[in-house]
Amino acid sequence: MFRHLLKLIWNKKKHHLLLVVEIFVSFLVIFSLTSMLVYYYRNYMKPAGIDDRNIWQVNYYDVTKPKQIDSLRQFYAMMYQQLKNTKGIEEVSFVSNNTPYSANMHRSSVGINKRNAENTDIYEGTETYASLLGMQMESGRWYTKDDMAGKYPPAVIGVALKEELFPDKNAEGQVVKVDDTEYKVVGVVKEAKYRGDFQESGKSVFIPLDTSSLKRNTTILMKVSPAVFNDANFEGQVYKQLVSWLKGVNIEIQHLDERHRSMDRLAIIPVIILLIVSAFLIINVALGTFGVLWYNINKRKGEIGLRRAIGATGMNVNQQLIGESMVIATLALLLGCFFAVQFPLLHVFDIASSTYIIAMVLSVLFIYLLVLLCSIYPGKQAAAIFPATALHED
């Protein structure tokens, strides 16, 4: 049966070529769209790992800070106390500027002996960082002031980094190298989605601020009580307070949840536009395929009449025509899959192979369904052809 169909198609190869090209291109469009959707969906289903409610981010620039290390530490300790004592502010942490949902990035390789994890995000923050952002520990604990006295400064690593560096042993107590400094791991934290709901969290390591990072620190995170979170008057007071403490400074207060929303929006808008454009392209293709199949059947009335006359049932004819479309679709899909499979093989983007495989399966199913739908009506029409009328025509 299949060989017969293939022969029929091969005989009219020139005729079917354009249809194959059309289905092939549609497959590529659908494949890129589903890859994106599957990637987003899988990330969306993972827990956020961050509680973004009631958090302010303060950016401050151009502050004249004390040069001496001791007075610099004192400067920050005092600022911490003063902020913490302000009614309405629940927790304060000084952090590097790559805060959740920001465009800033600080990546480097993190390693132990010869094993190196490239492109690991390095986040710096004081001891209150995790509790302020509501991050959950997988094992071990977050670093405290006491850890600073040890031989190595402490570090907390994310689950993904732990899997890469210490797949089959405990990470706690191990020493890792971050930017040429050695740190001792004290805990493993659950992955936090720093780039919004739809992006992967990536590998991460959290370290306390050293002296040089304190010198160039420009970012403070504050957890405030829900009652004053949206109170512009209270925010204005804190702003004024900070301006008067840090003379001649530029200050900006941002709301973390707003930034979260706008980052998600930024991720979702291109998908929506692509979705609309692809939907119209596919409707276009579906209508076109339907038209061409329909017309072909009208042209093959003689052949179909003959088949009916020598004993083929309406069902047989129907099956044959749908089968033909399916074979054409298969040819196009084989070609399409050849190209699609290059993405996971060549690691074109930094995305898990399984995402591509799922997307490929979904796209193949979708194209088959589309072609099936487009050929049902023409097939039915063909099945209804009476041999007598059809043969009479020619």
């Binding site: 354009l18 090209v21 950016n59 620039y61 512009a232 530029n250 276009n284 076109g288």
Partner: protein, 407 residues
């Protein structure tokens, strides 16, 4: 002759309404998508507010230094602008400005986000801002560290009330009160190098004008006397970079470019010049895919339709019509079809733009269908019609007469 073709085309369109619908649907949607894209690009490339002298302006947006395994890249420092750019001889005028700096203003129990920029006074000479109220600040005010500001209409409306006069009033940001010297029309977010809510004298910045580092947050705009002077300026800047001492021993190579507008726009801080090619490629692939599917679809349908007309074609051939005449006729018919589709596409595009503008994805960006866009649309229609007509027409012209007449 054309009139005849037109009549035939309309008759054919009426014959099989379903196929006509498919063709028109494909064409109009494709065209609408391309029109929206064109409208956006037109906004980016051709909207000359506020830098109306764009065609003879050169933009320096950043500097990058590289060494073995290390690389630093950022906008310029004030020291660098002072020491190297302000001493250039070929430009007629040199403006410089900082990148946007975010802060908040709290006023009447309301929080207002403010993005401000430090600028020099030449900035106002090179840029042609629409002043709705007041005027720019002068060189003298800049030199005497006056706390004056030019603000956008949006900020004026938010802080002083909609439509209220703002000139001479004070706006409080941080520890300082700034006297408003002028209010300007909003700059769209697409002009990302120049937009801001508030412009203040650069002398108020904390940056040290004699700092040694090259890396900071400043950009410069160099105005040429005429278009022909632009290569001279670029040459002079190249020479400066070639002679520039490295800011640190680690570095062995310096990259910085004096660009024309579009190059600077697409560079977006990347001094390598690769981002431009990348953007063009991505855009090209997108347009190619958008156009490819409908064209193939249309070719498919056209071939089907021609087969239907085989007897007509055969008769015409029998009466002596040459292959060329038939090809010509079919292409004209197809172009008529695409133009008709284009008309629907125009309406569809207007509808899309209405939705996009309503969604306000980019602040102060209002996309419209102007003459440039319409002209591009017409061009796309013609190319589209031609592309999707050529192959079927060629197939048609080689149609065997006898076979067709027999049927």
């Amino acid at each position: 002759m054309l009139k005849n073709y037109f009549k035939i085309a309309i008759a054919v369109l009426k014959r099989r309404k379903f196929f006509t619908f498919i063709s028109l649907f494909g064409i109009s949607f494709t065209l609408a998508t391309l029109l929206v894209l064109t409208s956006f690009l037109d906004k980016v490339i051709n909207d000359e507010y506020p830098d109306a002298k764009r065609s003879r302006s050169i933009y320096v947006t950043g500097i990058e230094e590289r060494g073995k395994g290390t690389r630093s890249s950022s906008a310029l420092s004030l020291g660098y602008v002072n020491k190297y750019i302000l001493h250039m001889k070929t430009p007629a005028a040199i403006a410089f400005h900082s990148m946007q700096i975010g802060t908040n203003a709290y006023h009447n129990g309301k929080k207002i986000s403010v993005n401000y920029k430090f600028v020099n006074s030449v900035f106002w000479d090179i840029m042609e801002f629409d002043f709705l109220q007041g005027k720019p600040f002068s060189a003298q005010q800049v030199n005497s560290l006056d706390k004056v500001a030019v603000i956008s209409q949006d900020l004026s409306d938010a802080y002083f009330g909609i439509g209220e006069p703002a000139v001479g009033k004070y706006l409080e940001v941080g520890n300082d009160k700034y006297r408003i010297s002028g209010v300007v029309k909003n700059v769209p977010a697409t002009a990302y190098m120049l937009n801001g809510d508030m412009y203040i004298p650069y002398t108020l910045s904390q940056d040290n004008p004699n700092e040694q580092t090259y890396f900071g947050s400043w950009n410069a705009v160099l105005l040429a006397r005429s278009k022909s002077d632009m290569p001279l300026i670029q040459k002079e800047y190249e020479d400066i970079i070639a002679r520039l001492p490295h800011s640190d021993k680690r570095f062995t190579k310096t990259l910085s470019n004096a660009d024309e507008y579009l190059d600077a726009y697409m560079r977006a801080g990347n001094q390598d010049g690769k981002s431009k090619t990348w953007i063009y490629t991505a855009l090209g692939i997108f347009v190619f895919l958008i156009v490819l599917l409908p064209v193939v679809n249309l070719v498919n349908i056209n071939i089907t339709r021609i087969m239907e007309r085989s007897s007509e074609i055969a008769v015409r051939k029998a009466f002596g019509a040459t292959a060329n005449t038939l090809v010509y006729q079919f292409i004209v018919e197809n172009i008529i079809l695409t133009l008709l589709g284009g008309l629907f596409g125009l309406l569809l595009a207007q509808f899309f733009l209405w939705i996009l503008n309503g969604a306000a994805l980019l602040t102060n960006v209002h996309l419209t269908l102007n003459l440039t866009v319409l002209f591009t649309g017409l061009l796309i229609c013609l190319i589209f019609g031609f592309l999707s007509g050529v192959y079927p027409a060629w197939r048609m012209s080689r149609f065997p007469i006898i076979k067709a007449l027999k049927a």
